[in-house]
């Protein structure tokens, strides 16, 4: 692709779009760190102070960062680390150990990971030698030998902290917090979790060693904030190679928000979830419609993306069922109405279906029982019905009690959208007496 070098480096549209996609995708998908944390300044300062005290003055600390999923905990921590490591020469002194509750499911595994990351002497290549007890003793010794003045501070970051609390005896947590309370190697323990009640999960001896310092990240953004965030996320930075394109793009974005339907769509989105991650999902869907032939985002794109996010997946599944299966679902709905949501088995559903066939149906003819059983089992596979009790070994298949996992309104809406639905089936669904 030839780039015509004019005075204000004007790139062809395809190249521009490609650049735009690169930048924006990195923002949405890769969760790259922003320049500064917006709306979290006080928490940022607090955490930075704490970690500075550990690395500079050798003070041991422990803190928990609590916030809902997608609220920005990892982002906050990474920003703080970045700031910490560039300001002082802490990068030479501070040792970091990153643990994740999803990966290190056991204290054994966690211990091996710690010794690996700290490059202690019992690590050769990748293998860690020794049993669990030996490793624990070795690690504690290594940490104990140091003291404030002549050992390097260690930073322990525990992601999904609540999962560590489920380990046996909470050994790892106990030991780490114990070291942080006694005059040994200065360590800082930072835990990230999404559960607000995480302190209840800790045992008494662990909780007493914890400093009870918590940083909460509960966003209190308003809708205007939300709009501003969306604008800033979509805008191109100043150092974009093609200035004219960047200006057109940013102006287009600002003009979008003036459209009423777009604003409503965003408002609906905001009402259901405020966090940045779901906004990224929405923006990602919009971005995937930007092509060379359509280089700017249109309002229709936003409305389509919003609709995609809000769709009811079960309605989509109901759309694809055959008529026999649909009739079975309507029969189950009637049974639910008559028996107030009590569980039912296959024979009861079949009975309802047969009553419908005798009385009202013209378009559906009588199917053999095994065929109806096959349709019933297909519904079971799709998990639209689920069996109620635990042990199913002693009861025959046809008599097992099941529950319908669909709602009355979902069924009625799906019926409206069902293609070529016979009218007697529709009328049967809407009548209140089977």
């Amino acid at each position: 692709m030839s780039k015509r070098k004019i005075q204000e480096t004007n790139l062809p549209v395809g190249e521009c779009i490609s650049q735009v996609q690169t930048i924006l995708r990195e923002r949405f998908c890769h969760q790259s760190l922003p320049e500064r944390t917006e709306g979290m300044e006080s928490q940022h300062k607090h955490l930075l102070e704490l970690l500075k005290r550990t690395s500079d003055h050798g003070e041991s600390n422990s803190v928990l960062i609590i916030g809902p999923r997608g609220g920005g905990k990892t982002m906050l921590l990474n920003c703080v680390l970045r700031d910490l490591l560039e300001v002082t020469d802490a990068s030479k002194i501070l040792l970091q150990v990153h643990l994740n509750g999803l990966l290190q499911t056991d204290d054994h595994v966690a211990l091996k990971e710690i010794t690996r990351q700290l490059h202690l002497e019992n690590v050769v290549g990748d293998k860690v030698f020794g049993s669990f007890a030996e490793n624990l003793v070795f690690l504690l010794d290594a940490l104990k030998k140091g003291d404030r003045s002549n050992s390097r501070p260690v930073l322990f970051i525990l992601d999904e902290f609540d999962l560590f609390a489920h380990h046996r005896n909470q050994t790892l947590l106990y030991n780490l917090l114990d070291v942080s309370q006694s005059a040994q190697t200065p360590i800082a323990v930072v835990g990230l979790t999404c559960r607000l009640d995480v302190l209840e999960l800790l045992e008494k001896r662990v909780k007493s060693r914890f400093s009870h310092r918590q940083i909460h990240l509960l966003s209190s953004a308003t809708f205007t904030h939300f709009l501003e965030t969306a604008t800033s996320q979509l805008s191109l930075p100043d150092d974009f190679p093609d200035d004219q394109f960047a200006q057109e793009w940013n102006a287009n974005i600002k003009a979008l928000w003036k459209d009423k339907s777009v604003k409503n769509a965003l408002q609906r989105h905001f009402n259901s979830s405020k966090d940045l991650r779901s906004l990224h999902l929405l923006l990602m869907l919009m971005l995937s419609r930007v092509t060379v032939s359509k280089p700017f985002i249109q309002p229709a794109d936003i409305i389509e993306a919003s609709r995609c996010c809000m769709v009811d997946s079960k309605a989509n599944v109901l759309h694809g069922l055959s008529i026999l299966e649909l009739c079975l679902i309507i029969a189950m709905k009637h049974l639910n109405d008559i028996y107030d949501g009590g569980p039912f088995n296959f024979h009861m559903v079949h009975n309802e279906f047969k009553k419908f066939l005798q009385r009202k149906s013209h378009s559906i003819h009588n199917f053999e029982k095994p065929v109806v059983i096959k349709a019933f089992e297909h519904l079971h596979e799709l998990e639209l019905i689920r069996s109620v009790e635990g042990s199913t070994a002693k009861i025959q298949r046809e008599y097992q009690l099941m529950k319908l996992m669909l709602d009355h309104t979902q069924i009625m809406e799906a019926l409206q959208k069902y293609p070529q639905c016979p009218t007697d089936v529709k009328q049967w669904a809407m009548s209140s007496f089977g």
Binding site: S18, Q21, T22, R25, E26, F28, C29, H30, Q31, R69, T74, N100, L102, L103, Q104, T105, D106, V109, D126, D162, L163, C194, R195, R277, S278, L281, M284, L285, S288, C308, C309, V311, S313, K314, N316, V317, G320, L321, S322, I323, L324, Y339, N345, H347, M348, N351, I364, E368, P370, V371, K374, A375, E381, L382, E383, K394, I395, Q396, Y399, P419
Partner: protein
């Protein structure tokens, strides 16, 4: 998905009915664009180790997968992945495609959330694509996880199905003939089944029968009505047999080749359930059925010589389907009740020998009766009858016993 160097969303969830083309579209896209990918079907992976090995093998070759220890945990997998990435860095997005991902929920609890966040955990440009028939709402774990991008693959409409099925025409016949055949086939099967694979299978099996009158020269191609009349009962029979997999496809084709007046001897799979039982066992089974499906208080009326009539009280008339035992299922009964009914049902005098009791045990082994309660209960074992009404009717016909007269629900 964006261009190869771009980042793509960390996890995508694709759902849709069977045979709507989910895996096909993904594979074609990945092959044509030549992106590095790993496809794993979760049905094949009974343990996590198999899953990890396949992914590492496809993405990094045999040396990558050889580094995995014996029974790898997720931590090992992430560590080796990171190592391999640093050894062979690629700027392109790698894709990991997991089919039948609903089975991931039944494996370890941390597996699904970890895969959804794989991009974050390994710090690499990788996207995980999950394919499933079940909706995402059923996958969420208790504390939440990284929400993937949801994509729906809609099902085919009737016209679209017809178009697709018409594509595999037989070489010696015209396309119009085949499309009229597909029309008839869809007319019979569409209201029952919409699965593309099943319909193709049925079309392939039945087309030769459809063309039989043409081969024999009885009708011409344009005689649609006669062709329809010929094939329709055949298709109806197919619904009861091949569709339900009672008869294997090979047997079906054999059956088609025989003349019409010779057919009849082919037994479906469920016909094999008619076991030949000894005389007393049949009566034991009948007695068990009556014990399961009749309430205990009505035994007096059915089985004693001098009984009163059942008064047609209001409760009797009001008994409706809610209480009908045939809808609710069989009830357990103690052994004494079974023997009492047995002695009154059997016409000859029978001594309570051990052979009668051993026949009860063999009925349990054959799974015609189910034993309820603990194995250790030797005093009053409880049983339940697990045969259907049609089966027991067949059996009672062979011993000349009219069972319907003795059933409370049919009074």
């Amino acid at each position: 998905m964006g261009e190869p160097d771009h980042y793509s969303y960390p996890s995508i969830f694709i759902y849709g009915h069977r045979a709507t083309g989910k895996s096909y579209v993904i594979h074609t896209l990945l092959k044509e664009l030549e992106l590095p990918h790993a496809t794993v079907s979760c049905v094949e992976c009974v343990s996590m180790g198999l899953l990890f090995e396949q992914v590492l093998l496809s993405l990094f070759g045999t040396d990558g997968s050889a580094l995995l220890p014996r029974s790898p945990s997720l931590s090992d997998f992430v560590r080796i992945y990171k190592q391999q990435c640093s050894e062979s860095p690629v700027k392109q997005t790698r894709y990991v495609v997991l089919e039948h991902s609903e089975l991931l929920r039944d494996m370890e609890i941390n597996l699904l959330p970890a895969f959804l966040r794989l991009q974050e955990l390994v710090n690499d440009n990788v996207t995980v694509v999950l394919l499933s028939e079940i909706v995402w709402d059923k996958f969420r774990s208790n504390t939440g996880c990284f929400e993937p991008l949801l994509l729906h693959f809609p099902d085919y409409s009737k016209a679209e199905l017809q178009q697709i099925l018409e594509r595999d025409t037989h070489p010696s016949y015209t396309p119009e003939l085949y499309s009229s055949f597909i029309n008839i086939l869809l007319g019979v099967f569409y209201s029952v089944c919409r699965d593309l694979r099943e319909l193709r299978h049925l079309a392939a099996l039945n087309f030769s029968k459809y063309c039989e009158p043409l081969k024999e020269g009885k009708v011409k191609e344009s005689d649609a009505h006669k062709l329809w009349k010929n094939i329709e009962p055949h298709l109806k029979k197919a619904m009861q047999t091949v569709y339900l997999r009672e008869v294997s496809s090979a047997q079906w084709e054999q059956q088609q080749q025989m003349e019409e007046n010779e057919t009849g001897a082919f037994k479906g799979l469920s016909a094999y359930a008619h076991v030949e039982l000894p005389y007393y066992s049949k009566f034991l089974l009948i007695a068990a059925y009556l014990a399961s499906y009749n309430p205990a208080r009505t035994d007096k009326r059915f089985f004693l010589k001098h009984h009163g009539k059942i008064k047609k009280t209001k409760a009797f008339l009001k008994r409706n389907e809610k209480t009908s035992n045939h809808l609710l299922g069989p009830k357990p009964f103690p052994l004494d009740r079974l023997l009492a009914i047995f002695y009154s049902v059997v016409d000859s005098r029978v001594a309570p020998t051990a052979s009668i009791f051993s026949q009860i045990s063999s009925l349990v082994t054959l799974q015609l009766l189910t034993q309820m309660g603990h194995d250790d209960q030797l005093d009053t074992p409880k049983y339940k009858c697990s045969v259907s009404l049609d089966f027991i009717r067949g059996i009672s016909r062979t011993v000349n016993f009219d069972i319907v007269k003795y059933l409370y629900d049919f009074l």
